[in-house]
Symmetry: D2
Subunit: 302 residues, 4 copies
């Protein structure tokens, strides 16, 4: 197995922006990385969907990656945005070039329900770039619906695939199907909303963004199949915030504002055409962040 | 305001079935009603989406309604399945005929983004049946996306509309928009997954199915805008089960099996083509129900 | 084989409405039936999607059926609107009761991609009602995507299924797949837009609405696999109108106005929430109908 | 008005591939360009959806563009694949750099139903790249549904927008709405399936791929609002092939095989995960191409 692809929590990095031109805020990137690192994540996933990779220029993607590399020694998974082989290879090659031996893998969308097509795609990306592949099954973004059984079997016979990120609901069912068929770590996503159930079904952890990554780390560390109550206890105080963050259509805007309120980034703007935070959510958000902060540090202020 | 349309929790009734022919289990219907009544709900919503109304024959709908009427004195909202005016009127008239003055309203889907079309639809249903109307905004089921602002304004000038069930995510944002524009009670749905946020935005309660309706009742009763922590404390122990129940595609199958494990119904089958419960979910489900039961009755067994 | 289920053109009947209350116009129904009969259709499909069955009350459905029965001796297929077994049985029983031995079949939507679920559904409808079944594969309406191979194999072993209406694009591919696997007549739909290709793939004809059914009849009658040019010649002058009628979102509104301009119905309203005819289409529509009428009767006026 | 943005037919270029590795076939690109040029197109649209731009690497996009530039003197529209501003600017800048003053515009997807967001997007692309903008309204690809009225008004006050490609069905309705509100040329697309109706609604021509571009040119040249029959006569013999090519899901595979059969490209493969040509379509395709070829050159062979 890929020595990099540790179980645990892989933080999915947001990309903070500055000002009316939405410039990449390198300082904010560094702070988010340092916070996640200190929170105990196993690694970081950069240029994912919630890193707004599809809204970055090519130069900005490089800038984000370089900033992350300068801010941590953690292994990295680098997300690829495209669905077709040739442009994914472009993305994978940039990841290999910049990240080098700290690259845990490139994350590639499951792009076809047809097993031969998907197999050829994953294989071609690996062969052309040299990178290991993390398969992301995320139909809301890809528009592609694959069977977990097919995917699990394909992964089992694909040594270049070193992890799966399971984001096709119902995800606990998918995790159970995948872990019954292949041995690579399978990670939950979707902000951790079904993390307890995914762990119970054999997930190796979570690969997702959440404004309190320390909560996900504590939950996964506390996971013990014979005593699920321990992990449950860790996650419980954060679950209201998780359900608040996972609101369809505004999830990223909510999360970035939570990060801002925590002092981790200076501004919370999302790039258009993504939807910005409705004003009606601001007071709720404050209360949620305060409650989560109190759970994180019972003695401290926020 | 409609004297029936009380704030609080309106339980959405599941329809239990028996045997390989999936016959309506009248006894199970009665038990669910009695349990909800004892749990303190303000009323019941019958023949809703999660009551599988769209999978019942006309005679079975009558049977369910009559069984409910015989089992409780609570006011009832009766769901209408169709999207067009004439068949909704058929449904509304049956509700009026059977339920009489215990009818709090017929629940009608928002069927058009065009305000004039929607207005004419709601008005026609009311005029033809005499029933008050609860508007349900549930795009996953209706396929119709309406603006909350438009809907709120329309409701404000429609005396025959006595409540809104807001199920277009992000629902807290929708509840805020609706309650700013109209005075009727606005209820959250979706199994209570965002209930705390919906209450904070002005919701009058929840109109939804959840296998522990007592938890929703306790939460809504504890709601105090100046002390949101009280309601949060009530809901927290149930939130893992709520996120478990709300899994896309298997939500109803999960909930009915939870109800069965609680002893409220004898069998948990859903009618095809709805998806049945994946076996991998059974052990998780047991643990969830046990944890929720422990929270409900700390001294009792399940 | 069902003696009723003749190859050829099965006209799908529109339901004309009158006045601001959109009452069913029985006289218009009768005229449409008589026109289709005179045009040489093999049978009629009543209460289909384009008959707006989903927007009729139960009494109106009976009225339409009875009016049709009084207006022709043709065999009838009766459409069922629901997706679940129990309400489809309600619909099928009404069809059997009213239509008697002139019933060629009830048309039932393919309601599941799972072969066992679909098999049980079709079988249950047949057994409860006694009616033969025409399967309609129309994913735009049903939201269900089935494999043509699975459907063809299922039909081949289902003696109670006597025809398939293939409306899952690409329909010629579906027709080829179905006719390779089962022996019942397979009909194209979708207004005839791919009729030539469907015939070339083995379709037994068309089951669809088009404002000039005589054109579809002439095309199917002229079909000769060794001389496809003959059928092509028949359809060609109508193809611009067919592509005009098949416009997404306004197809029914366009067709009904074409029927009105032909003098077959008095008013062309569609019931809300269906979209009405945009004014910008009126002059084009006149020209299309005039051109088609000239092709139909080179010596006559319209 | 942009001197380049001539009315007429803008051919949308397919990208031919060779062998099992699907390499870009430069020779095939050149032949397609030369054929379109000889057919009388007003210009060419390169790197569009049907050019499979989203499945090309960055280097391949350059290669295609350079090959086109070497093969013709026609003005070019260059398609942009992304939906967000920063990556579209990357694409637009490459177009400006390579195409220089032969660039008629970059084609940018309408990426938001919100007028301010769309306005800012189009403006930013123009300002950062210097290119004029052709707006493409193609919801099947973008997932974005904009109002034609909003788009028309925005275009009317955006001097940097020099054309619209209207591909939101019903397209004739959209063309009528757009041409009533703005003065730039509005082009139909979708393979020409509603070309006659789009011209009748004020379209300046067609911007689309079709295996017989000469047919579209002849139709647009013959267009005379006072004698629509002339254009109709030109298009009629090709309409069966157009409806055959426009089959949902296999349209590009069909078209490329038509081009191959015409001798314009050597192989007809589409890049995965696009669907390849079902074998059942091959004999039909031969017959369609033969009939269209006979119409194109009544005296010649194919």
């Amino acid at each position: 197995m890929n020595r990099h692809m540790r179980p645990g929590v892989w933080g999915v990095l947001a990309t903070p922006f500055s000002g009316s031109t939405f410039d990449v805020d390198e300082n904010g990137v560094a702070q988010l990385v340092e916070h996640a690192d200190a929170a105990g994540v196993a690694g970081l996933t950069v240029l994912g969907v919630f890193g707004e990779a599809a809204r970055l220029s090519w130069a900005e993607r490089r800038l984000v990656l370089e900033t992350v590399l300068d801010s941590t020694d953690l292994p990295l998974v680098v997300g690829c945005t495209s669905l077709a082989t040739a442009p994914v290879i472009d993305e994978a090659r940039m990841a290999v070039e910049l990240v080098g031996d700290r690259l845990a893998g490139v994350m590639v969308q499951a792009n076809s329900a047809d097993v031969a097509t998907l197999d050829a795609h994953l294989r071609a990306v690996h062969e052309a770039s040299g990178a290991d592949v993390v398969v992301q099954d995320y139909p809301v973004v890809s528009g592609v619906h694959v069977s977990s059984a097919m995917l699990g079997d394909l992964v089992a016979r694909s040594p270049h695939v070193t992890a799966v990120k399971a984001e096709a609901p119902p995800t606990p069912v998918a995790v159970a199907e995948l872990t019954a068929r292949c041995d690579v770590p399978v990670f939950g996503g979707l902000g951790g909303i079904n993390l307890l159930d995914e762990l119970a079904c054999g997930a190796a952890g979570a690969m997702t963004g959440f404004s309190f990554p320390e909560a996900l780390v504590a939950t996964v560390e506390a996971w013990d199949p014979s005593e699920p109550g321990k992990a449950r206890e860790q996650l419980l105080p954060y679950l209201p915030l998780i359900t608040f963050e996972q609101q369809v259509g505004i999830a990223l805007a909510v999360r970035k504002e939570c990060l801002r309120r925590r002092g981790l980034i200076a501004e919370s703007a999302v790039r258009p055409p993504a939807r910005s935070l409705p004003d009606s959510m601001r007071p709720l958000l404050e209360a949620h962040v305060a409650a989560a902060a109190a759970a994180t540090d019972p003695n401290g202020g926020e």
